[in-house]
């Protein structure tokens, strides 16, 4: 039995449907992420699981029991808020002990759990400090510790890394994964940062306009987006508008206006005459100097319009003969090589016949 089951949950605010008939389940011990742009309903869904809002329709089950009518303080579900919501008048120690005291644990148990948790989040030396004396990362860890100390069935995290700078964010991501593995608590994580979702999650539910667009493992979400929204939202992607000429179990033949025929990997259920777009990740594209010999079937001449030097990689914006601009990513792994091409260079762009994914309209 799944730990958490969301069954046909809908939530409206007046005319706005914030969450629209969403169903999914989360297994025990899982790191589950709800990913989507702001306003997609992910936070509303989280608040319904926590009990701060009630679904208009549908049910939320925890361990098979309907949570309807159970107030937030009675649910074995804790939340790490985006703003941390640390109690400013309490020390780190008292903040973390709060849920234990609310659960009327014995002083002995409070002390023991407190010590354990403080060690887990490396805050033992800060236990007598007040929240205003802590750095952003430390506050974040106190919020996490407070959510975890009483071993909830489920920990909800509402964009908890949003307020941290990039470097610290990365470190906290690693700490978060380690912590989740250590304590074995099921995490439901909400974020709009796709990279964070890919890095942290066992499974991701991509949400848009109140609906779950795709629910899958990170690599499948990235590699096999189900539709344009998911393809576009997760990572960078090039979309080549095209029409299916030929479809068989081995490959697809696509017609791209102004470019000609291209080969693409097959997808189930695609018929000749279907219209859509071939989705290609920037790292799947290769560029070479103009006129160099090409062994790949899909290759076209292009012009470098611009490039973004990002240190480890450089992103080249290449215009194809039909006017479409594609992003191609080249690793700068050769020592001393910062860039291979200049703006205005004529190049040859190519990709493998089994690269990309055809997405129907």
């Amino acid at each position: 039995m799944a730990l958490l089951e969301i069954q046909g949950v809908t939530r409206r605010y007046g005319d706005l449907v914030a969450v629209d008939d969403v169903s999914f389940s989360v297994e025990s011990g899982e790191f589950f992420t709800l990913l989507g742009p702001s306003g997609c309903g992910k936070t509303t869904l989280l608040r319904m699981i926590a009990g701060f809002e009630d679904p208009d329709r549908g049910r939320i089950l925890l361990d098979g029991k309907d949570l309807a009518g159970t107030p937030p303080e009675k649910r074995p579900v804790h939340t790490v808020f985006q703003s941390y919501a640390l109690f400013p008048h309490m020390t780190v120690r008292d903040n973390i002990a709060f849920p234990l005291r609310m659960a009327k644990k014995s002083e002995e148990e409070v002390r023991q759990r407190l010590q354990e948790t403080l060690d887990q989040v490396h805050l033992a030396d800060k236990s007598r400090h007040y929240p205003h004396e802590l750095s952003g990362g430390q506050k974040q860890r106190v919020a996490l510790a407070r959510g975890l100390v009483n071993k909830p069935r489920l920990l909800l995290l509402d964009e908890p890394l949003g307020a941290l700078d990039a470097k610290l964010r990365e470190r906290m991501q690693l700490e978060l994964i380690g912590l989740q593995r250590d304590v074995g608590v099921t995490f439901v994580f909400v974020t709009h940062a796709q990279q964070e979702a890919l890095a942290l999650s066992d499974r991701i539910g991509v949400m848009n306009e109140g609906r779950v667009e795709q629910l899958d493992e990170p690599s499948r979400i990235y590699g096999f987006p189900r539709n344009r929204f998911v393809a576009d939202f997760i990572g960078d992607i090039n979309l080549l508008e095209s029409e299916v000429l030929e479809a068989n179990p081995a490959h697809l033949k696509l017609q791209v206006a102004g470019l000609g025929e291209i080969a693409a990997p097959p997808t189930a259920g695609i018929k000749p005459g279907d219209k859509g777009a071939l989705a290609l990740r920037p790292e799947q594209l290769r560029i070479a100097p103009h006129g160099s010999p090409q062994e790949l079937k899909n290759h076209f001449p292009g012009t470098v319009l611009d490039f973004l030097y990002l240190g480890d990689v450089t992103v080249y914006k290449v215009a194809l003969p039909n006017g479409v601009v594609m992003d191609a990513l080249l690793a700068n792994s050769a020592p001393g090589r910062a860039k291979f091409f200049e703006t205005g260079d004529a190049v040859e762009m190519a990709w493998r016949h089994d690269a990309g994914l055809f997405l129907r309209e």
Partner: protein, 330 residues
């Protein structure tokens, strides 16, 4: 002040990379034709800095001088005059007796004296009136807290649009004169058989001072982050616990400033005891007013004012000390 500490730390210690960038920028903005170690451009920069600092100091002075002069002239000097007056003899027809035996005024009570202080410590009636005053002020403050808290909470938790109107309603009584409002209480309390009793005094005091408790409390409660209450609820606290563990402790600064705004004025208030209280309900305020207006004993009135000030200061110091030692324990 507390919240800013992290910012100031960051300002104090810029990262090495940042300071490197800054010095490079500076070099570009002030290109020096001479070698870098030449002192000339550095000195020029120092002079500019000094001029800027002088400008800042001037501005600081210009802004702070008027209130400083005002407070010195109309608060400090009068207070010193009161202190001086308390060591003198009363004049024959009010005012103060002369300091020196001048021609045509050969009174015996001339010069400086500790008479009024001897008077004060020699008569238990004064202590009794002081204690009664502090009790009335304390009771008034307590009742104000109990009445104002729900009101302030209600306003703070109301939709933003409605809050301004509610605050306006709280301060609306100030639009009419204090005496008129107190006379209205005479009409109300008369038929209830409460007029000229200590109850009437406390009722009047609470009525007049309630807004001074509501406003600071509301200002405090309004700033509370609603996420804190949600977090507490999420972590297992019910409504009552949320109030006592989160809302109440966070509102203590509001309660303290409200209490100061109620307690101290009540001690000096003489109109309400005079109009609503009986003959036995005299408070320090009445006593002081009587010395100046009825008994024409300025030194005694001055001495009583000083005693009142000292008592309030002592109480405030005690409260501050108690608050600090409590925080130290926690």
């Amino acid at each position: 002040m507390r919240g800013c500490s992290s910012v100031s730390e960051a300002e104090k210690a810029p990262s090495p990379a940042l300071s490197r960038t800054l010095s490079r920028l500076r070099a570009r903005v002030f290109p020096s034709p001479t070698p870098v170690d030449s002192p000339a451009p550095l000195a020029g920069e120092g002079r500019g800095e000094r001029a800027r600092r002088r400008q800042q100091d001037l501005t600081k002075w210009a802004i702070t001088t008027p209130p400083f002069v005002f407070l010195t002239a109309f608060f400090l000097l009068p207070f010193l005059l009161v202190v001086a007056a308390s060591f003198r003899y009363p004049g024959e027809f009010g005012g103060l007796a002369p300091l020196l035996p001048l021609l045509g005024a050969p009174g015996k009570d001339v010069g400086l004296t500790l008479e009024t202080y001897r008077f004060f410590f020699g008569d238990l009636t004064y202590a009794e009136i002081f204690i009664r005053s502090f009790l009335v002020a304390g009771l008034t403050t307590l009742i104000c807290i109990l009445l104002a808290y729900p009101v302030a909470l209600l306003i703070a938790r109301s939709p933003k649009k409605r809050r301004d109107l509610m605050v306006l309603l709280v301060i609306l009584p100030f639009a009419s004169n204090l005496l008129i409002r107190v006379y209205a209480w005479i009409i109300i309390l008369g038929p209830l058989n409460l007029l000229y009793t200590p109850y009437a005094v406390v009722i009047g005091m609470v009525y007049v001072h309630l807004p001074f408790m509501v406003l600071p409390l509301y200002t405090n409660l309004e700033k509370h982050d609603p996420a804190l209450l949600e977090a507490a609820q999420d972590l297992g606290a019910n409504g009552w616990t949320r109030f006592w563990r989160i809302t109440f402790p966070l509102s203590l600064p509001g309660i303290f400033s409200g209490s100061a705004l109620v307690f101290i004025p009540v001690l000096g208030m003489f109109a309400i005891p005079e109009l609503l209280g009986g003959t036995g309900d005299i408070l320090v305020g009445n006593l002081i007013k009587e010395q100046f207006l009825d008994n024409r004993d300025w030194p005694l009135g001055s001495m009583l004012s000083i005693m009142l000030t000292l008592a309030v200061l002592a109480l405030a110091g005690l409260a501050a000390w108690a608050a600090r030692s409590r925080r130290g324990e926690a």
